[in-house]
């Protein structure tokens, strides 16, 4: 009996390790391939190997050169700028709005919540034409400000809903007793609720950053001039225009943006994982 349990355990662990190693290979291979491609001499990929024989940094150097349609570092800065500002704005707007919906009883509160729930389901870029017309009417084609406002507005419904749920789980006794001590609403918000809501703030911040960073549809409608592009548009055009001829340059560009983001993500994941599992799973 004991022996068969021990045998079962060995089989179970062996199978587990085998699956994990296989999955890890599937995950790491594309990443390694991209790193390899970015050091691979020449533009074509036909004769690449995972570890290039004559590694070169020339593709990274190429990134710093600009041409009429290529502004890698400009795109990089545009993307970072738009994502960071959207993140800060949406964390602020989402949390004060959620605070009102969680802690106050006012006319239109319930309707407001239903509106958020409905709006979060309609994909924002199904309103592409409207955004395009809006940009032309306001003479804001190529404008990053318009894009930031659209992204921030789009962040509000779903994230307010999440945030309100999280605030609801913080006991109201805390604010009541602070109120008795004479604390103002704003003070209760900043000094009691916000610190306690850190896990969910991290989730909202992550959404606010990664949403704009990965957006292609809306930004490709608003941004028409190569210099104002964000990375998704710039890099997409880079590979689709030249039929794969600049894939190695793309690989270098992809590595340069992915590594910092992945590192920050892995370092900070603990913060938003708590928020995700506590806030998103309440059934």
């Amino acid at each position: 009996m004991k022996k068969s349990i021990a045998k079962g355990r060995i089989i179970r662990l062996t199978v587990t390790y085998a699956i994990l190693i296989l999955v890890s290979l599937i995950i790491l291979y594309p990443l390694a391939w991209t790193i390899g491609a970015s050091f691979n001499p020449g533009n074509s990929l036909v004769s690449t190997s995972l570890i290039p024989k004559n590694p070169t940094l020339s593709h990274y150097v190429e990134l710093s050169k600009t041409s009429a349609t290529f502004y890698y570092f400009q795109w990089f800065l545009n993307s970072l700028k738009i994502s960071l500002i959207t993140m800060v704005l949406s964390v602020f707007l989402v949390s004060i709005t959620a605070y009102a919906f969680s802690r106050f009883d006012f006319h239109g509160r319930k309707n407001g919540l239903v509106m958020f729930l409905l709006l979060q389901m309609i994909p924002q870029f199904s309103a592409l034409i409207a955004i395009f017309v809006l940009a032309q009417m306001l003479h804001l084609v190529n404008s990053h400000i318009l894009l930031i406002l659209i992204y921030t507005g789009g962040m509000i419904p779903m994230n307010t809903y999440l945030m309100k749920g999280y605030f609801d789980s913080i006991p109201k006794d805390l604010d009541e007793s602070a109120k008795i001590d004479g604390a103002s609403n704003s003070r209760i918000f900043w000094q009691i609720l916000m610190p306690l809501a850190k896990p969910m703030l991290a989730v909202v911040a992550m959404n606010g950053f990664t949403g704009p960073l990965g957006d292609f549809a809306i930004s490709s409608v608003v941004l028409r001039e190569p210099k104002s592009y964000t990375l998704p548009i710039g890099l997409y055009n880079l590979i689709s225009d030249k039929m794969g001829a600049s894939y190695t340059t793309f690989a270098a560009g992809a590595i340069l943006i992915s590594i910092p983001i992945a590192v920050v993500f892995v370092l900070l994941q603990k913060n938003f994982v708590t928020g995700l599992t506590q806030g998103g799973t309440k059934g």
């Binding site: 190997s49 994909p123 809006l134």
Partner: protein, 428 residues
């Protein structure tokens, strides 16, 4: 308040008078002897009327006619202005109502013999009593103009004939009612494209989401085993696909799967002695590649959430099972899995709505291609990417808008039904 004062009718009728007078905003407040507030209301009303007179005039005229003369009028701009006028008017009406209520309220307080609050007190009321309105207004305003307005605009557009042949400056568009919706089902090429796209959208949503969820849960359960070593390493590797920006991954996979230079054909399949597969030129193979890529991208999120849930399963749930000598698989099937599924229902639903609208992977991977001759949609287009192409490439704006409405109705319907079922939508 004592019984006597309630039974005796108030001698004055300030409430009614003030409310009636504030038909012109501010006058009611002046009547209530709130001079600063009254003047402020009057000035704001004046500015509103003067400032938006043109907008209302042009806006409502444009909304009804969509323009009468080329090249002076641009139908779409007129439509947009008209909708802005509607929103501005709605906001104005809201504050108009607030103004009347305010005059009535203060008048009522006067009827009951209370002192009229000074401007300073009103201001402090604004900070305290109306605090929730004050703090939600920036967010709501932004939402109105960047989310609600575009959606209204798209919806309105669906009832016009706006397309390449009705574009400014040479042509006007006009209202056509439900014509476009009718055409989706009656024009042969539209109907067959619509049915093809819808069919693949449904298959895509179900298969891609189910794969991500299944792999995510499986990996979490595997890594969660007590006697497994290097847990931290496995977890870090498994969340990597989530950590790398999604658009980068999709473009990388587009390269990997490339028919001519991609590593999958040239290295992996070649070393196994398998002929090159037309990943990007055959719709069925593109679908396989898309499903693979989305599973790769989507499972880490489910993995992370499931891991969190596994760590919260109470140990004693398993004790009885261990006493009964249940196998690992039996424990998983009758304890772990039901627990995970019950906790994760909302997140799993979000996966489905996410993939239903997953524009990026379809468009960035192969632009919805390979192209289908004679059709505006490619072989792997889902509804959202088809709408994008109709807007950006073939300028069939009205059709795109009509599809948007149908898509929204479907998504909202399913999601509401599911949310109700899982009971997670509770007013709280």
């Amino acid at each position: 308040m004592t019984v006597q004062t309630v039974s005796a009718p108030p001698k004055t009728r300030h409430a009614r008078t003030a409310a009636l007078l504030s038909i012109i905003p501010g006058v009611g407040q002046l009547y209530n002897r709130q001079i600063i507030k009254g003047i402020f209301f009057l000035v704001v009303t004046g500015l509103y009327v003067v400032g938006f007179a043109d907008l209302f005039n042009m806006g409502f005229w444009g909304l009804i006619t969509l323009g009468v003369e080329v090249p002076r009028d641009n139908s779409v701009f007129l439509l947009a202005e008209g909708l802005v006028a509607v929103i501005v008017a709605a906001i104005g009406l809201f504050f108009y109502g607030v103004n009347i209520r305010d005059a009535h309220q203060i008048g009522k307080e006067r009827d009951q013999g209370a002192a009229v609050p000074s401007f300073r007190e009103s201001f402090s009321n604004l900070i305290h009593r109306d605090y929730p309105y004050v703090i939600i207004s920036p967010g709501i305003l932004l939402l109105l103009f960047t989310v609600v307005f575009p959606i209204l605009f798209s919806f309105a557009l669906a009832f016009t004939n706006y397309d390449l042949y009705h574009t400014a400056p040479a042509h006007l568009a006009s209202w056509v009612g439900l014509e476009t919706f009718k055409k989706i089902f009656t024009v042969d090429i539209w109907r067959s494209t619509f049915i093809d796209v819808l069919g693949w959208t449904v298959i895509w949503t179900v298969v891609a989401s189910t794969l991500s969820v299944t792999i995510g849960i499986l990996m979490a359960v595997l890594v969660h085993q007590k006697d497994l070593r290097f847990k931290k390493l496995w977890r870090t590797i498994l969340i990597l696909p989530w950590a790398v920006p999604g658009f980068v991954t999709i473009l990388v996979f587009a390269g990997l799967f490339n028919d001519s230079f991609g590593a999958i054909n040239n290295s992996l399949l070649a070393s196994l002695g398998i002929h090159s597969i037309p990943w990007l030129t055959n719709a069925n193979w593109t679908k396989v590649a898309l499903l693979f890529t989305q599973s790769w991208l989507g499972f880490p999120y489910i993995f992370v959430v499931t891991t969190g849930i596994l760590q919260s399963i109470p140990e004693d749930l398993y004790e009885a099972a261990i006493l009964d000598g249940a196998t690992a698989f039996q424990k998983f099937r009758s304890i772990t899995l039901p627990f995970i599924l019950s906790q994760m229902a909302p997140i799993i639903i979000t996966q489905y709505t996410f993939n239903f609208n997953n524009f990026n992977i379809i468009y960035l991977f192969n632009a919805g291609g390979p192209a289908v001759p004679g059709s505006t949609a490619g072989g792997t287009d889902i509804l959202v990417s088809w709408i994008y192409k109709l807007t950006m490439r073939s300028s069939q704006y009205a059709l795109a808008a009509a599809l948007t409405i149908m898509l929204s109705v479907v998504v909202i319907g399913i999601a509401l039904w599911q949310f109700k079922r899982t009971n997670s939508f509770k007013e709280g």
